[in-house]
């Protein structure tokens, strides 16, 4: 095995080691933290009960004025009322349900037919996904691995004559 | 290269050109049909690897010095190679930065360009790279006529590429640098690359002129090697820019 390949494999080994360590620490910390926005996207149902339209006509609130989601959630609106209801891009015929995917983070105010205010607030938060945690582990693990790798060259030299500055 | 005959080396060069052509064709086909960016990102890497090894002879960097005398030509040649490669590494950071900017700003969209022209200039640059390699090999075996011939072809193809990008594409593009983001990215990327091509053309022209005056020999032709390696580098950069500008993603609305 030539010196170059020895060096490369040595560095690779330590970089991987560093990333693994970083990932471990990051995951443990993450679990302890118990982040709320870190759940997987799921289908959340919003039921419009019977008789909503009448109540709304009288200006009563039937449903909460809004709701919080994470990116990727599917909002499924079930219409148990007797008339067609609408929410933003959704049209829900009586007794049926319609759904929309929330794939953009941000706060939206959709016009709707089941609120006296004619508007329903939807807040979509960026979920703390595994991908981002992986990114973080890489960002922390790379330097760690490099550090361990270069110092390993001092602790355990590759070969007697090998510490050329190209290393 | 000494241990293999010239014809076999040239044959290999042709083989590599074929491989590159196939890869480019596949790239184009994927872009037209399924357009999966991961594939379009990997294929240039393969192409670059081929060129690094077969055309730019990267392994020469790691050959141990046969001659330890500091003043000997062989030793200086190796030092020059190192210097050139260091420069290429540094230069590749500019292009890397441009790629990062393009990814950050445009994501999976691309400017509206002439596909035919894009493919054409790519092929032109590819073939020029082949002839550049041919020129270097011929020189290494001391065949001056063939060297001059191949270098002339390389040079003219390089000029053709410049005309294609700056002379035609820039004029026909339906946007200017200030129109939109895609325009800005397109002009800055092609601009930087075209500038490098331009310098490469000048470099090749100088080498050609000095070659005509018989200044290079089979033993001493560093200038030829340098110009050719630089030229290949420019080609490799285009391997990445071509899909980034013409193929990946959907058109900007």
């Amino acid at each position: 095995m030539s010196l170059r390949t020895a060096l490369i494999s040595r560095m690779l080994f330590f970089v991987v080691l560093g990333v693994v360590l970083a990932a471990f620490i990051s995951e443990v910390a993450f679990r302890l933290q118990g982040d709320t926005t870190s759940r997987d996207p799921q289908t959340i149902q919003l039921v419009i009960p019977r008789g909503t339209s009448e109540k709304v006509a009288q200006g009563q609130n039937v449903l909460p004025a809004g709701q919080v989601f994470v990116v990727g959630d599917v909002l499924q609106v079930k219409n148990e009322d007797s008339v067609t209801q609408t929410l933003g891009p959704l049209v829900i015929p009586p007794g049926s349900s319609a759904s929309m995917k929330l794939d953009k983070a941000g706060e939206m105010n959709y016009t709707c037919s089941f609120q006296p205010s004619q508007s329903y607030g939807i807040e979509v938060q960026q979920a703390l996904t595994f991908g981002m945690r992986l990114q973080a582990s890489l960002l922390a693990g790379l330097p760690l691995g490099v550090l361990l790798g270069v110092y390993s060259l001092v602790v355990k030299p590759l070969k007697p004559n090998t510490q050329s500055p190209s290393a | 290269m000494e241990h293999s005959s010239k014809s076999s080396v040239l044959q290999l060069g042709l083989l590599v050109l074929g491989a590159l052509a196939v890869l480019t064709a596949v790239e184009f086909a994927i872009a037209l049909t399924v357009n999966i960016w991961q594939a379009l990102a990997i294929i240039p890497l393969i192409k670059a690897g081929l060129v690094f090894y077969y055309y730019m002879h990267i392994y020469r960097l790691f050959e141990a010095d046969k001659d330890v005398d500091r003043e000997s030509y062989a030793y200086k040649l190796a030092t020059n190679r190192l210097g050139l490669w260091l420069f290429l590494i540094s230069d590749s950071f500019i292009f890397g930065g441009l790629m990062i900017s393009r990814i950050n700003l445009l994501g999976l969209t691309r400017p509206e360009l002439l596909q035919v022209l894009g493919l054409a200039v790519t092929v032109v640059l590819l073939i020029s790279s082949f002839f550049a390699n041919r020129a270097e090999v011929s020189m290494a075996y001391g065949h001056r006529r063939q060297f001059i011939l191949s270098l002339t072809v390389t040079l003219s193809l390089g000029i053709l590429f410049l005309i294609g990008v700056v002379g035609v594409e820039w004029q026909l593009a339906p946007f200017g640098p200030e129109t939109n983001l895609a325009g800005a990215v397109f002009y800055v990327m092609t601009g930087f690359h075209a500038f490098h091509v331009f310098t490469g053309v000048i470099f090749l022209a100088i080498v050609l002129r000095n070659g005509l005056r018989g200044l290079y020999s089979a033993e001493k032709h560093w200038a030829v090697e340098a110009s050719v390696v630089y030229w290949h580098f420019i080609d490799v950069v285009w391997f990445f820019f071509y899909p980034a500008l013409y193929l990946i993603g959907t058109l900007v609305q």
């Binding site: 067609t84 209801q85 609408t86 933003g88 891009p89 959704l90 049209v91 829900i92 015929p93 009586p94 007794g95 049926s96 349900s97 319609a98 759904s99 929309m100 016009t111 037919s113 | 290269m1 293999s4 080396v9 290999l12 083989l15 590599v16 491989a19 196939v22 890869l23 596949v26 994927i30 399924v34 999966i36 991961q38 594939a39 990997i42 294929i43 393969i46 690897g49 081929l50 090894y53 077969y54 959907t250």
Partner: protein, 194 residues
């Protein structure tokens, strides 16, 4: 110079190709629906209106076709032309599949949108598109059935595209100005039976 790298490169290429097409096959096998699905599908309100040619048209005439219904008016300057443009794009992209679909524009402004007007308007887009109008009395129930609020000047307040399947059921809605790719992909998937 050894040829190993060349061989490796070619092998890599093969791998990339396999991966690519495997991936695309998987994607096409599991299509994602971009419209907002209505489940279970509801029988779409069956209307009977007058087309731009003056003939009477029922929704039931289009059994066996996917029908895209859009409420708009010819004097509309912003959303309607854009949406019709999108629908035209979709129609062209569908190519041969297009004749298994029908685009219908139901006016929200019967006062001004005579059949002639509608015909002139739709001729800007595609001959196969159909524009329907009628008297206010006939249109009112249609609008309410599809949850369309119409202001006095004939402007629709909330407007969607409605997708009716060959059985005459309302299966999905699309927000206006949604990107044409989604609708086209959905229809392609539906028509190719996926």
């Amino acid at each position: 110079m050894n040829r190993k790298p060349l061989v490796i490169a070619m092998l890599l290429l093969v791998v990339v190709l396999i991966a690519t097409f495997g991936y695309t096959w998987y994607k096409s096998a599991h299509p994602a629906f971009s419209g907002s699905l209505i489940s279970p599908p509801q029988a779409a309100y069956a209307f009977s209106l007058t087309s731009q040619t003056g003939s009477t048209v029922n929704l039931s005439d289009f059994r066996g076709k996917y029908v895209l219904i859009f409420f708009g008016y010819t004097n509309c300057t912003s959303e309607c032309p854009l949406t019709m443009g999108y629908l035209k794009q979709m129609h062209d992209r569908l190519g041969l599949l297009a004749d298994q679909t029908q685009v219908i524009l139901i006016t929200s402004d019967p006062a001004r949108d005579t059949p002639g007007e509608l015909g002139a308007y739709l001729s800007n887009f595609d001959p196969s598109f159909m524009g329907l109008t009628s008297s206010l009395a006939v249109l009112q129930p249609v609008w309410s059935a599809y949850g369309v609020t119409v202001l006095d000047d004939g402007e629709t307040h909330t407007s969607y595209l409605y997708l009716v399947d060959p059985q005459g059921d309302l299966i999905a809605t699309y927000p206006l100005l949604s990107n044409v790719d989604g609708i086209t992909a959905d229809l392609e998937n539906l028509l190719s039976g996926k």
